[in-house]
């Protein structure tokens, strides 16, 4: 059955829609043709692997890569997947706060597929690495650009999902960032207070 599904290439539409038509991506996820939840975790796994390869390519001794690539890859994949799950959960919470219907499963699938553009970091940076033309700068630049692309995919898909205007969808998408940012800010303040207390003592 899996082989037949693979041959049908319907799964390819999910990736294609993630890149060119995020609204169609959500519609396809909602139709469950094919079932996309499990497949969506391929994206963070691939992003993790490509990220490790890119960093290693830039000369960063990623340690894990040199010894056991699997360890590093699994760790980064778990990190990416955890972030996606947390973000999806918080987005779902924000959507319900705005009065929309909660749908955590579709949120997770969406967030996972929205990471897909990040996979292009490797070929993009590789070009600059070959010509040795500020590869580190372009790594940072493309990372940011792909992050924005990824955000745009998620926002459009959320807008289709709820349905909500792009403004509301942006707020739902940014909610986890705002929450985590606020928590980190207060943690930083507490750490500074503790640090100053310790140093003064």
């Amino acid at each position: 059955m899996i082989v037949t599904e693979l041959k049908l290439l319907r799964w390819a539409d999910l990736f294609l829609n993630a890149l060119i038509d995020p609204r169609a991506l959500y519609r396809q996820i909602a139709r469950r043709e094919p079932k996309a939840f499990a497949l969506s975790f391929v994206v963070p796994a691939a992003v993790a692997a490509f990220n490790i390869l890119t960093l290693s390519l830039l000369g960063k001794e990623t340690g894990f890569f040199y010894y056991k690539i699997t360890y590093g890859w699994i760790l980064v994949f778990l990190y990416e997947a955890l972030i996606a799950l947390l973000s999806a959960a918080l987005m779902d919470m924000a959507a319900q706060f705005f009065g929309y219907r909660g749908n955590i499963r579709d949120f997770i699938t969406l967030v996972n597929f929205s990471l897909f553009p990040k996979i292009f970091i490797l070929p993009l940076v590789y070009i600059f690495r070959i010509f040795n033309f500020a590869p580190l700068f372009f790594y940072t630049f493309f990372s940011m650009a792909l992050l924005v692309w990824s955000a745009l995919i998620a926002i459009q898909a959320i807008s289709e999902m709820q349905p909500a205007g792009l403004g509301r969808a942006t707020l739902i998408y940014l909610f986890p960032l705002l929450l985590v940012g606020t928590v980190l800010f207060f943690m930083f303040i507490l750490l500074v207070i503790c640090g100053v207390g310790y140093l003064a003592g």
């Binding site: 290439l9 390819a12 539409d13 990736f15 294609l16 890149l19 692997a49 490509f50 390869l53 890119t54 290693s56 390519l57 000369g59 001794e61 340690g63 894990f64 890569f65 040199y66 010894y67 996979i119 292009f120 490797l122 070929p123 590789y126 640090g195 310790y198 140093l199 003064a200 003592g201």
Partner: protein
């Protein structure tokens, strides 16, 4: 849609291809780096050499680290305990940079090292700038001692120092009120002269500690006490002189000591070295505390005076 699907498959194929090329590229770079003998940081595992550092005056417990860690002889013993339990540790290099310290603390470290030695863990002492008195005492528990040419070592002996500030107090008109339960309770007090009987009692302790020092060094070095006695008069020796008197086995650096430990434990030349290091965060915070929170110069001097004022019987080189 079929055309688009084919386009996507092509893109995915190109991505996989770029990943494969990247893996080959990185592997080749890695080979070049290895051949250029650039060490790669990463997790270390497998049989190797553990490092223990003994820095500064040896005393039972220094100030506790704010992260719950211990300092002083207790931390050294705990580190040795950890190494003893670790089945990957085949040899231990004890890096010593110390003028010695209290008798009890030095003896505790010696005994712990001796236990490891009996358990067939190869011990190599590496002396830094100074490994005198208690520093040498600890080193003598090791199977093999490596010293630098200019290391200050030796100083085999025991000392008790107590300042006598009675006359200063008389001059400025200060009297100390001392209420004690026995006539010797304030023995070695800084505020009165020591009487001959007290001197004899302290001398007995010093002699007993000295005999123990001599006996343990002889045991550790597999020499007779009579061979060591002629130079065990408190004199300090350079690393070179110590080699001549067979107090050390080899002149060399810390790296030489590690190599010797690998060789004794029959480990490969690149066997891992397990350093004695706290977490980077702890090191950073402790470093910052030293820079910013170490107190004023006066405060530090007062602390120093407090240390000096406390009379202790020590295996310590006091120039």
């Amino acid at each position: 849609m079929d055309r688009n699907r084919k386009l996507l498959i092509s893109i995915l194929a190109l991505l996989v291809l770029s990943a494969v090329i990247a893996i080959v590229d990185i592997s080749m770079n890695m080979q070049q780096k290895r051949s250029a003998a650039i060490s790669l940081r990463g997790p270390q595992f497998g049989p190797g050499v553990g490092i223990v550092r003994i820095e500064g005056p040896i005393q039972m417990a220094g100030a506790a680290s704010p992260f719950g860690g211990m300092r002083g002889a207790e931390s050294v013993i705990r580190r040795l305990d950890d190494l003893e339990r670790n089945s990957d540790i085949m040899a231990v290099v004890v890096r010593i940079n110390s003028p010695g310290g209290t008798v009890g603390a030095s003896q505790e470290i010696y005994e712990k090292l001796w236990k490891l030695r009996k358990n067939k863990i190869h011990l190599v002492a590496s002396m830094g700038e100074i490994a005198a008195s208690g520093g040498y005492y600890v080193a003598s528990a090791c199977d093999y001692i490596v010293a630098n040419h200019g290391t200050i070592t030796g100083s085999i002996g025991v000392i008790a120092v107590s300042p006598n500030i009675r006359r200063l107090f008389e001059k400025i008109g200060i009297d100390m009120n001392v209420i004690k339960s026995g006539r010797y309770k304030d023995i070695l007090s800084s505020f009165r002269d020591i009487n001959p009987e007290e001197r004899r009692m302290i001398q007995e302790i010093i002699d007993s500690s000295y005999r123990k020092f001599l006996k343990d060094v002889a045991k550790g070095r597999s020499m007779s006490e009579s061979d060591i006695a002629p130079i065990a008069d408190g004199r300090v020796l350079s690393g070179e002189a110590a080699l001549r008197y067979k107090l050390v086995d080899q002149l060399g650096t810390f790296e030489d000591a590690i190599d010797k430990a690998r060789q004794m434990a029959k480990l490969s030349e690149d066997a891992p070295v397990y350093e004695d290091a706290g977490s980077p965060f702890e090191q950073l915070m402790f470093g910052m505390k030293q820079v910013f929170g170490g107190g004023s110069v006066l405060e530090r001097n007062i602390r120093g005076l407090e240390d000096e004022g406390a009379a202790m019987i020590e295996y310590r080189y006091r120039p």
